[in-house]
């Protein structure tokens, strides 16, 4: 039976690579591969000119931060449902494997084996990404350490998902069966309460970033926090070891935790079936939606629709696309998170606005950092555009709308909500520093930036969204939109690489606009507010570039043939 499962995995991988390789016969895929290879070399393989050595104190803090991150991700597994998707079987797997003479334990093992492929691949990426991090360990040791870290994390979150499902499905019996895990979970909750009770007053009393950091460091040193971070510290320890012998000791402990968690997950087979079925149904719904070209977003079945947005029967057809995508945002809760972030930022800024002190600057910097973060990641997270409509291509192609209009409407669907959130954050930053006369940037300039921000942000977001839609339209065979199985932190390596490519493309697209800004500013340097004119012209150049790209992508859409999947 194991042979059959190995054969299934091997054939799937081989055929998938075969399909990808055949795509290289097309010039655009071949060119993309060459550019990708150059990018990989520059980012991952290029030898470092001066190997950097991080200071020991920084290294120690990084270890604590990493342990804290691991702890949060582990706790997240108990609160959220995400990792259950690791158990999601495809429709074909359900059809062939569930009725097959296999034990449930065998199926779990199969799934764990499959998830290892992603973890191993990403562990390799992380080794290259972090090769200049200052670690003195040899690459194979770093690889094993990273693999154990991700595997531990993945297993813990999977185990948590199984316990959750078992409790829901089996009530008291499930409670007894998972008593040790429940005791540990409860102890963690108590520890968190104790930490918060002691730490929150100190953090609230702190003034300024350094005091807040100090308060957080102090909180991490509390006995309850030490107990809570004990396991995460053991898990991350191999990645932060300073010598081979230290690594050997740390790896032993990490491996032991890995084996214990593996045992925990495998013996949870009572909950497995329910969890797997739920996850598979969820997955099947998404896959079915994709295959039927009827939407990729996971809308909870049975959830009644209460709110809608009016749509006039006449007007630009592109308006209907934006309307449709906005409803998707509303109904998948993604708009809620966007609005929630904005409200949170505003609430946070209120006391700062009152105090008009250094806290105001802190809030302004935080808000502006979030604006930048949204430029980089906003459209990757939101995907409220062609990427979520990619499987609707046959339906979209029958609509009486030109390709350029359709792509333009899809781009607006993502760029507009991101821009609105960013504008809210800019307003927060402006409001937080309104009474601060000691800032190096005068109020007039800040007001100018505030007034210019809607145009600038909308233009920049339209460009980044267009780039990401271009990837989906030009390389539909390579770009996986809305992944069916949640990647988790262990798949973050791939995400970092993709974000790097998109950022690089964005910077290249920005060059003409930057050149325009520089030239115009230099030419009009005698004028009082030359920067405004320069910025407006630069925005115009970027907008023009984006418009041309949208038109080109529109033509590409018109030529796109769903059956060719090229």
């Amino acid at each position: 039976m194991i042979d059959a499962l190995l054969y299934l995995t091997g054939s799937t991988i081989r055929n998938r690579f075969g399909v990808q390789a055949r795509r290289l016969r097309q010039p655009r895929y071949a060119l993309a591969l060459v550019l990708g290879a150059v990018y990989f070399w520059l980012v991952l393989l290029r030898p470092a000119s001066q190997p950097s050595q991080a200071p020991t104190s920084l290294w120690n803090n990084a270890e604590t931060v990493a342990a804290l991150g691991i702890l949060l991700l582990m706790l997240g597994g108990w609160v959220f449902r995400g990792e259950r998707m690791a158990l999601a079987f495809t429709a074909a797997e359900v059809q062939f494997l569930f009725p097959a003479p296999l034990t449930r334990r065998g199926l779990i093992t199969f799934k764990l084996f499959r998830s290892q492929l992603v973890i191993l691949f990403n562990a390799v990426i992380w080794i290259f990404v972090l090769r200049r991090s200052g670690s003195v360990l040899a690459a194979p040791l770093r690889f094993v350490g990273t693999w154990m870290l991700f595997s531990n994390l993945s297993l813990h979150r999977l185990g948590a998902a199984l316990v959750r499902t078992s409790l829901v499905e089996h009530g008291r019996a499930g409670f007894r069966r998972h008593l040790p895990a429940i005791v540990l979970g409860t102890a963690s909750a108590v520890a968190i309460f104790l930490i918060l009770r002691d730490a929150v007053p100190a953090i609230r009393a702190a003034r300024g970033a350094s005091q807040i950091t100090h308060a957080i460091e102090h909180a991490a040193d509390l006995p309850a926090a030490r107990a809570l971070l004990f396991l995460p510290r053991l898990i991350v320890a191999p990645s932060f070891a300073q010598s081979t012998s230290e690594w050997m000791r740390a790896a032993g402990a990490s491996l032991l935790i890995l084996l214990l968690q593996l045992f925990w997950v495998i013996q949870s087979d009572v909950a497995f079936e329910e969890a797997a079925v739920q996850a598979s149904v969820e997955r099947a719904r998404r896959v079915d939606a994709r295959r039927r070209r009827s939407g990729q977003a996971a809308v909870s079945g049975g959830k009644k629709v209460k709110r809608t947005i009016p749509l006039r029967p006449s007007g630009l057809p592109g308006g209907a696309i934006v309307w449709k995508n906005t409803l998707l945002l509303m109904r998948t809760g993604r708009v809620g998170s966007v609005i929630g972030l904005a409200i949170m930022a505003i609430v946070l800024s209120l006391p700062a606005v009152e105090s008009r002190g250094i806290d105001g600057r802190f809030v302004a910097i935080a808000a502006l950092m979030m604006v930048v973060l949204l430029i980089v990641l906003g459209s990757r997270v939101l995907q409220n555009d062609f990427r979520q409509d990619a499987e609707h291509v046959p339906a979209l192609k029958t609509l009486p709308i030109s390709g350029a209009q359709l792509v333009g409407a899809e781009v607006v669907s993502s760029a507009l909500p991101i821009s609105l959130l960013q504008i809210a954050l800019v307003i927060v930053a402006y409001g937080a520093t309104l009474g601060d006369d000691s800032l190096p940037i005068p109020l007039g300039l800040r007001t100018g930036v505030l007034l210019m921000s809607p145009l600038m942000l909308l233009t920049i977001n339209a460009t980044t969204v267009t780039i990401q839609n271009a990837a989906a339209l030009l390389f539909p065979g390579w770009v996986r939109v809305s992944p069916v199985v949640g990647g988790g932190v262990e798949a973050m390596g791939q995400g970092i690489l993709v974000t790097g490519v998109l950022l690089l493309t964005f910077l290249v697209a920005l060059l003409p606009a930057a050149a325009t800004f520089t030239i115009v500013w230099w030419l009009l340097s005698r004028l009082h507010n030359a920067w405004i004119i320069a910025l407006l012209l630069a925005a115009g150049v970027l907008l023009g570039e984006t418009w041309l790209a949208v038109r080109g992508l529109g033509r590409r859409f018109e030529k796109l043939e769903p059956t060719s999947s090229s």
């Binding site: 977003a297 809608t308 309307w323 998707l328 339906a395 192609k397 029958t398 609509l399 009486p400």
Partner: protein, 248 residues
């Protein structure tokens, strides 16, 4: 109303459809039949503008799909065998979306009647995930009919419908044709084709095997005289020598 001239579609070296020509006038219902893999879906998808012909010309209501795709599609409705719905739009919102997309100014007035006709009035605020297969099919049909298309293309329209729904669907297709629409109907249900279609196009391996009214097709093949559509279909699409026809 629908004119197809020398339509050919190649996928690499594979000839999916070769040199297909036919036309459907207002009020006519053309039955497109053929065995699995004959090229029916490829033809329908090309007619709907989903894929482009490698060679040949397709025109809808006088507008060439290649040159004026938006104008051609405005007069066209394609109802696929698998309903292609947006998972996050309700039944009513689907119709509003289609109304705006096709510029149907009186869509708000048309929607209640159409919803009632297709027995979707209790499901207006339901998402497609809450609908049965048949209901989803009805919604796809309602979306196709809202803008009163001059050309109607249906791929296996009865799939998933209950007997009452099937009857109503047959009546709807006939009524649309009587109203002046040019209809193309692809189905393996030969009794449906026999009942509704005024003309037939039999394709096999991407090529036209027969085109015309049933009587014309039989008249050209004296050996098929007196046979039903099923026998004629099997005789026309058989790769080997046709099995002996049962005595009727």
């Amino acid at each position: 109303m629908i004119v197809v001239d020398s339509f050919t579609k190649l996928y690499g070296d594979l000839v999916a459809v070769e040199n297909l020509s036919f036309s459907v006038a207002p009020g006519e219902v053309l039955g497109l039949v053929g065995p699995n893999g004959a090229g029916k879906t490829t033809t329908l998808r090309a007619l709907a503008g989903i894929i482009a012909p490698t060679r040949g010309r397709i025109a809808i209501a006088g507008h060439e799909l290649a040159r004026e795709p938006v104008e051609a599609k405005r007069r066209l409705a394609f109802i696929p065998d698998e309903p292609q719905l947006f998972e996050y739009l309700t039944v009513e919102e689907h119709l509003r979306f289609v109304g705006r997309m096709y510029g149907v100014a009186d869509a708000p007035a048309r929607i209640p009647g159409l919803v009632k006709e297709l027995e979707l009035q209790d499901k207006q605020r339901a998402l497609p995930t809450e609908l049965s297969r048949g209901m989803r099919q009805k919604l796809a049909i309602a979306c196709g009919l809202l803008h009163d298309p001059a050309a109607l293309i249906l791929d296996e329209p009865l799939t998933g419908l209950d007997p009452a729904g099937m009857r109503r669907m047959r009546e709807t297709i006939a009524a649309r044709a009587r109203g002046g629409a040019a209809v193309i109907l692809s189905s393996h249900l030969l009794h449906l084709v026999e009942e509704l279609c005024t003309k037939l196009l039999v394709i096999h391996r991407g090529r036209s095997m027969a085109y015309g009214t049933f009587e014309e097709i039989v008249a050209e093949r004296p050996q098929l005289a007196g046979r039903g559509l099923e026998d004629v279909f099997l005789a026309l699409t058989s790769d080997t020598e046709a099995p002996p026809l049962p005595k009727s």
